[in-house]
Symmetry: C2
Subunit: 148 residues, 2 copies
Amino acid sequence: MTLALPEQTGYLLIKLGEVLLEQAEQALAPLGLRARQFNVLSMINDDPTLSQRAISGALGFDPTIMVTLIDDLEQKGLVQRERDPADRRRHRLRITATGQTTLHRAFIAINRAQEQMFMPLDVDEKTNLHALANRVLSPLWPGAQISL
Amino acid sequence: MTLALPEQTGYLLIKLGEVLLEQAEQALAPLGLRARQFNVLSMINDDPTLSQRAISGALGFDPTIMVTLIDDLEQKGLVQRERDPADRRRHRLRITATGQTTLHRAFIAINRAQEQMFMPLDVDEKTNLHALANRVLSPLWPGAQISL
DNA sequence: TATTGTTATACTCTATAACTATA
DNA sequence: TATAGTTATAGAGTATAACAATA
């Protein structure tokens, strides 16, 4: 019985994810951002009403991690915590002007990196890869949809 | 400027890899195996002449990790270390009969899990996903080819 | 009583450097 | 001098439980 690992689709996709994450980290490093910080910043930018728990839930990690993560973004001047007047337990996370500038640069860096990484595929193939990956992921990752 | 994370192909594939790994761990847990141990065991089974360094290099982690990993597999009776007579610095890793039985069961568990995970795709689509992922990964992961 | 954010802490995982034995 | 394997150790990352404030 022999079945080389790279011929297992699962192994292939897991390894691909690892490599893509590594590339993303490298692309963001010059901006002083980790990949996860970029994700959080991007979500805050899209919806400033999200609670810290909602964000960690949507991205799939423990809520306690948000504390030091936001501490860091706040210290960098990219985000500000504000008490939610409607529910004073919650923090509303507001992206600052600096934060938007950094986020914009981060998007450019990420897009450039992705263009490099997906170079081997033409437009249709990349669209196809996206669609196929999405169909596999959707049933396994209901968290993709934000639930408050 | 707004671009939801799940619409980024890179983010999608990274998350997919995370979820697939998690599923693999769960499938192997009843056998007392971690995913990485399964990978190593599989490589040893395919080629008993590989050194510990060759295996860690091919799988993409630090050689020092192999020590406790093989310690564990050896303690479970799945693998035996033997001095390579040709180069007495090296260990040749031989899979035991128990190891082969466990590996066989592990393959079945992994295949069953993968059938579940890729259920949304038909055969052609799964082949296509594999091929596309492979074409993106190949230039980024030369380590897929084992080099002694 | 339940929930948000926080803190403290312990546990896992990993990489770094230094050591040994062989080449 | 260089390499395979090992050991010890420190660092990063994570989850767990307990707490304060608020609902």
